[in-house]
Subunit: 272 residues, 2 copies
C-alpha cells in the first residue's frame, strides 16, 4: 500500500494550479525509510534548506521534519518522496503574493535492484544527452528534470543499470540518478557540481566519511581521460548506497578495495 499526504493530510490529488506542475517550481528529496525511520534525514533536510534558500522558497523546516517523521512511521519501509512547491500560481512567472509553500509526501516500495549491482558492479550507459551549465540551479534537487528524463530514455536494456552524464563541454558530471566517484592513487575524486548536476546526500556523506578516514578527497573538473586512468569507479545515492562501476563502453575497472570499504561503511548507514 502506498501513502500520500498534502500539507499533512492524506490526499492523492493536487491543485491544478500548483506551480510545481506549471513551472517545476519546487524541490524534492527521496529518502530511504527503514523500520519507520528516515535515513540520512539530517542531510536531506540540509540540502532541502539550501535549495529553498537559493530558490527563495520559505519553508517551515520544523513542520516538514515532524511531518516526515510521522509519515515514515506510518509507511514503515520504502522510499519516501518529499516535494515542496511554491504553492498555487495565478497567470505568469511572478509568485502569487502570500502563496504558501505546499508539502507533498508520497511513499513507494523499496526499489528491487538486482543484488548483482552492488556485488559485481554495473555498466554505465554513455548518455548522449549533455547537461546544460546553469550555476543558479547547479547542485539543487529541483523539479526541472527533463534532462534526466531524456537521458534515461536513451537505453532500454537491463545490461546498463545507470547512465553516465557529461556537460555540454564534455566534463563528466554524474549518473542519471546517482553521483559518481573515481579513485586514483588512493585519492577520492568526484566531479565539481557548481555548473550543473545534483549534489547528492550520499555524495555529501561520503565526502565527510573520507575526511574522517583521512582519505584525500577532491571535488574537481573531471574528463573522460580521468575516468580512463581511474583505479576504481563507483556511483552512489541515498537509496541503494554504492554500486561499483565495472565498465563504460570499452573501459573496464575492477571492483577495488576502496570501493568495497566505503560500500560496507555506507551499508551500515542504510541498514538499521
Amino acid at each position: 500500500m502506498t501513502l500520500s499526504w498534502i500539507d499533512g493530510a492524506p490526499a492523492d490529488s493536487l491543485s491544478i494550479k500548483d506551480r510545481g506542475l506549471a513551472y517545476g517550481d519546487g524541490l524534492f528529496e527521496t529518502i530511504l525509510v527503514k523500520a519507520g525511520v528516515p535515513l540520512l534525514f539530517e542531510r536531506h533536510l540540509q540540502r532541502l534548506a539550501l535549495g529553498a534558500k537559493r530558490l527563495a522558497l520559505v519553508l517551515d523546516l520544523p513542520l516538514i521534519e515532524s511531518e516526515c517523521r510521522t509519515f515514515a512511521v506510518q509507511m514503515s519501509e520504502g522510499a519516501m518522496k518529499l516535494i515542496v512547491t511554491r504553492g498555487d500560481g495565478l497567470r505568469g512567472y511572478a509568485p502569487t503574493p502570500g502563496a504558501q509553500v505546499r508539502r507533498i509526501l508520497q511513499s513507494s516500495p523499496l526499489p528491487a535492484y538486482p543484488p548483482a549491482n552492488a556485488e559485481q558492479g554495473i555498466r554505465l550507459f554513455p548518455c548522449r544527452t549533455r547537461l546544460a551549465e546553469q550555476p543558479l540551479l547547479a547542485g539543487l534537487k529541483h523539479l526541472n528534470r527533463l534532462e534526466q528524463v531524456i537521458a534515461r530514455s536513451e537505453w532500454h536494456d537491463t545490461e546498463h543499470a545507470e547512465g553516465l552524464m557529461r556537460d555540454t563541454t564534455g566534463r563528466i558530471v554524474e549518473a542519471v540518478y546517482s553521483n559518481l566517484f573515481l579513485i586514483k592513487g588512493g585519492v577520492l575524486l568526484t566531479p565539481d557540481l557548481t555548473r550543473c548536476g545534483v549534489a547528492g546526500v550520499m555524495r555529501a556523506e561520503l565526502l565527510t566519511l573520507a575526511e574522517q578516514m583521512n582519505m584525500p578527497v577532491r571535488a574537481m573538473d573531471l574528463h573522460m581521460s580521468d575516468l580512463q586512468r581511474a583505479d576504481e569507479v563507483f556511483v552512489c545515492n541515498s537509496v541503494y548506497g554504492i554500486w561499483p562501476v565495472r565498465a563504460v563502453e570499452q573501459l573496464n575497472w575492477p571492483v577495488g578495495p576502496v570501493t568495497r570499504k566505503l560500500q560496507n561503511l555506507v551499508r551500515g548507514l542504510l541498514d538499521i
Copy 2:
C-alpha cells in the same frame, strides 16, 4: 469564473503521481480566446506537436484540438492554458510503460496589461539570470521553467513590464514571457533559438508576415552591441501582441514605423 478540465472532464485537481509535477515532464501553450475562438490556434498546435515529437510524447492531436475548441466556447474569452504531461509515473525517470499523456486545460481572465505598454512602449529590466544552453530543449515551451521564475523575481517595480534575458555567453535571447525583435536598416532581426529560449507562436507568425511583406528577416546570434545599434526594438507574444521597447537601462529607442506597422497587423490577428 474559471474553468478547468483534465482529459476532457471538469476537474480542478490532478493525480499526485503526475510526471508534470515530478519532473516538469510535459509541454504547455497559452492561447488567447476571444468570442469562443482560440486565436493563432494552428500555430499553437504546430508548436505543441513539434515539442511532443522532440520529447517523445505521443499526443492525440485531433482530440486535443477538438477539446480545446469546445473548452474555448465554454470560456468565451480569456487565456486558455493547455498542459500535456507524460501522465503518471512510478519511481524513477524512465516512463511508465503504457502511461497515457494527460491533457490539462485551465482558463484565466484576459490579463489586464496597462494600455501604455502597447502605446508608449515599455522598459525592459536587464535580468542577471542567464539562460543555460541546452539544444535538446531549445525552442520548446516545456514545463521546466525555473530560469524564468528566477528571472521574473529580479524586479518588483511596475516600471519594467518585461525583462531582457541573455544566455550564459552573453547573447541576447528573449524576454521572460516574450520574444524579442530588433529592426536595423529595415531588416527584422530576432535571436536564433537553437541553444535556448522559447520559439514563440507570435514570433513564428511575425517571421511569416515579414516574408509576405517582402521585409528582409534574419534569425541570428545577437549581442548587446546589436541592441545598441538597433533602430527599433519590440517584444511580442501571442496574448498581448506587440509592445514597443523604449529602453533597457541607459539605451533608448523611439517607437518606430516598422514596429507600429507590425503592431497594427498583429492587432488584427488578436482582435476578432
